[in-house]
Symmetry: C2
Subunit: 451 residues, 2 copies
Amino acid sequence: MVIGGDAAGMSAASQARRMRGPDELEIVAFERGHFSSYSACGIPYWVGGEVAGRDELIARTPEEHRERSIDLRMRTEVTELDVAGGRVRSRELDTGTEVWTSYDKLVIATGARPVRPRIPGIDAPGVHGVQTLDDGQALLDSLAATQGRRAVVVGAGYIGVEMAEALIRRGYEVTVVNRGPEPMSTLDPDMGRLVHESMTGMDITMVDDAEVTKILTGDDGRARAVATTSDEYPADVVVLGIGVRPETSLARSAGLPLGEHGGLLTDLAMRVRGHENIWAGGDCVEVLDLVSGRERHIALGTHANKHGQVIGTNAGGGYATFPGVVGTAVSKVCDLEIARTGLREKDARRAGLQYVSATIESTSRAGYYPGAAPMTVKMIAERRTGRLLGVQIVGREGAAKRVDIAAVALTAGMTVDQMTALDLGYAPPFSPVWDPILVAARKSSAAVRRG
Amino acid sequence: MVIGGDAAGMSAASQARRMRGPDELEIVAFERGHFSSYSACGIPYWVGGEVAGRDELIARTPEEHRERSIDLRMRTEVTELDVAGGRVRSRELDTGTEVWTSYDKLVIATGARPVRPRIPGIDAPGVHGVQTLDDGQALLDSLAATQGRRAVVVGAGYIGVEMAEALIRRGYEVTVVNRGPEPMSTLDPDMGRLVHESMTGMDITMVDDAEVTKILTGDDGRARAVATTSDEYPADVVVLGIGVRPETSLARSAGLPLGEHGGLLTDLAMRVRGHENIWAGGDCVEVLDLVSGRERHIALGTHANKHGQVIGTNAGGGYATFPGVVGTAVSKVCDLEIARTGLREKDARRAGLQYVSATIESTSRAGYYPGAAPMTVKMIAERRTGRLLGVQIVGREGAAKRVDIAAVALTAGMTVDQMTALDLGYAPPFSPVWDPILVAARKSSAAVRRG
C-alpha cells in the first residue's frame, strides 16, 4: 500500500510491480489530488509558457498506472494510520466515504507542503503557491483574469527565482521580496550577491532583508500589495516561493520517528526506523548528508525518484539502498545558471569543520571561442585534510551542470589537490584548457597548503 | 632550460618562474616555430571562421614571456641533446648559427608531429596539415586562393571531424575519408555509427573503410583528388587529420627511455625515468592510463598544461605529481557532441578485463522542456566487480561535458551501482529527473547483476 501518488510513491509502486506480478503482490495507492506522477519542478516553466500545457508535466496518468495493475485511488486522502493494526483509514474527497484498508507493507510518500506565513491577507485571491498542478492552474487563471502587470514573488530560493523568470516571460514587472541578505540562501551570501546583481540586470526589482508582514487587499478582496516592515510593493499577483516542509502530520500522529526538520527518519533501505514493513521516501523524509554526516530535508524530484526505486525494489523482495546525498541543486533564471553542492560556509561551521575557501572567475569555453560566458566558482575545502566540502557556481550557459564534477568528487571523498589532476573533457567549444573546476581546485589546494 | 615553447614547455617555465625569481633561477627556452604558447586545439575554429584571427589563439606572446624573465629564443631548433655533458646544441633557423648551451635542469616539451602517410602527392600544394598556426595560415591562404568548393578531409578522428565542420562553415562540400569502419575510432563502432549518421545528415559525405593510396595532382601540380584503393574523390583542397605521434627524435638520439607508442617515459613527478634533472611533458610523453594500468599517448592541451604545471613546480624546488589520465575527450561537429572517457570495449579486452556494456537513450533536459535533445550513452563496467570502465556519449547540446561525471567516477574507482545513487544536478532545463548518466548506470548495474 502506498500513501501519495507522486514521484516517490508511484516510482515505488512501479518498481515493486516490475519485481512482482499482480498474482504475487497487490498494490493499492492513495492520492488526495487530481494528478499522479507529475513534475512539480516543471510548474514554473508551464507558468512561464515554455512548456505548452499541464499534461506535458504528467509522466504517467492514473489510467496508465491502473493498466499496470496498480490500484491507484485518486482524490482519496488517508486520514489516519494505525500502525499497530496495520491499516489506514481513507476518505474519498468527492463523496466523503471513509473506509479502513489493511496492508502488509506500507510506503509513505506524502510529500511536502509549502510554507505559508501566517500573515494577514495570505489567503486572499491573487496570492498563489506553486506546489501542485492545481496551484499552477490557479495561478495561470489568476494571471489571465488580471489586467495589471505587476507581480511580487515572496521568497528568493529556487522556486522564487524560477517564478521570477516565469513572470518576466509573461511580461510582468517583477519584484522579488526576500528575507535573507541575498537571494538564493542555498549559496553563501558572496555568491548570492552575484545572483542579486544578475537579476537586477534583468530588470527584476530585488528586495533583500525584507520581512513580509501583510498582504494588502483591495475593495474587491484581491491582493493589491505586499507589505514589509518598512515598505509596500504593489502587486496584481503575489506568488509564494518560500519553500516547503515535510508533510508528516499523518506519520506524526501515528508515532513514527521524525527528525529535527520534521521529516520521517529511515534506514539506508528507506525503511522507517524501527518498522520492518513501512518505507518512506521523497519530500516527506530526511536524508543523510554524506558531507556533514547529518540529516537534511531536501525536496527534489530526483531524490524522490531514487527513493521510490529503492523502496519498490525492497518492498518487491529485492535489495537496494539509498546512501545519501551531497546536496546538489541547479537552477536558472533566464540565462543565469546557479548551482551548488556540498556545504556552504555556515554548514561547515555548524558541522564543526574548519575550512578554507577560494573563489575564481573563468569561462564556460575557451576564451577565444564564441559564446564563452563568464563563470564564478567558489570551492570550500577542509583545513588540513584538503577534503572537498562544497562548490557553488554562478554563471551563464555551461555553468550549472559543471557542479556534477564536484558532486561526484564529494561522493568519492576527494581532496581538492586530487581534483587538480582530474581528466575533464577539454575542447575549445566546451571548456578553457583549464576547466573552471580545475582552476578552483588549484586555488583551493594552494589555500589548504597555506593553512 | 626548456625545449619547446608551447603549452607544456611554457607552462613549466612560467610555473618555475612563479616558484623562483630571476636571481635564483635562469630560464632559457627554445622554440623552433614562429609562435609560443598557443592553442593548437583552436585551429579548426580559426579556419572555420568562428575565431576571428590567429592572435586570439595565442595565450602568451614571446615578448610576454620575456617580460617575466624567461629567455625564450624563437625560431631556434635544438638539434642535439648531450645528456652526459648536460648541454644542448641549438640552431637559429634564420641565420644558421649553432651554439651549445649548458643546463642544470632540462624540460623536454617537443610536442607531437602529425602523421603524414608516405603516399604519392602528399606534399603537393593544396594538401594541408593543421598542427601548427603556420599550418592553419597556409590552409587559409590555400582556401582563399582556390575557386573550387570541394574539400576532402583524410581521417575521421577528432581533428578530422572538427576540420569537416570548419570547411562546412566555409561553404565547402566536404568528404571525409576514413580508414576505420566508422568515424571517431576513439569510440566503439556502434557509437561511431551514430556519428557517421549525424555527419551524413549534415551533408558531409562519409567514406569509411577506405585506405588513401594517392593524392592526384593537376597540371599545375596542385592536389585535385584523393584516391583510395577503390575510388577517387575530387578535391580542391585536402586536409590531413590523421593524428599525431610523439616528437621524440631528439630524445631517442640522446638515449632517453621511450615507450611502445614512441613517447618519453616519466615517473609521476614527470621526471624522465632514470634522469634526476630531466623532465618531460605534453604531447611528447606517454601517460599512465589509470583504468587499464598501461601507458598511452594522448596529445591534448589540457594534459600538456597540467604536465607543465607539475614540472615547473618540481623544477622550481616544490613538489607535485601527475597521477595519470582516464582518457577523457570531447569534440563537436556542428551541433553534434561526442565524448568518451575510460576504455572502449577493445581496450578492455586488450587489458584483459571482462566487461558488460549497456547503451541507453535519453535527453539533455526534461523531455517537456524546450530544447531537450536526444543523447545516447554507452557505459562499460567490469564483470563481477561492477567497476566503471568507460563511457561514450553521442548527442547534441549538453551531451559532451556530461562525460566529466564518468571521468571523476573512473578516477575514484566507483562501481556502476554506486553511480546509480550519484546526487547530480537536476532541474528541468538541465536534466531529466534521471540524468542520462544515471539511466546508463542503472542499466549497466542490472547487466552486472545478471552477469
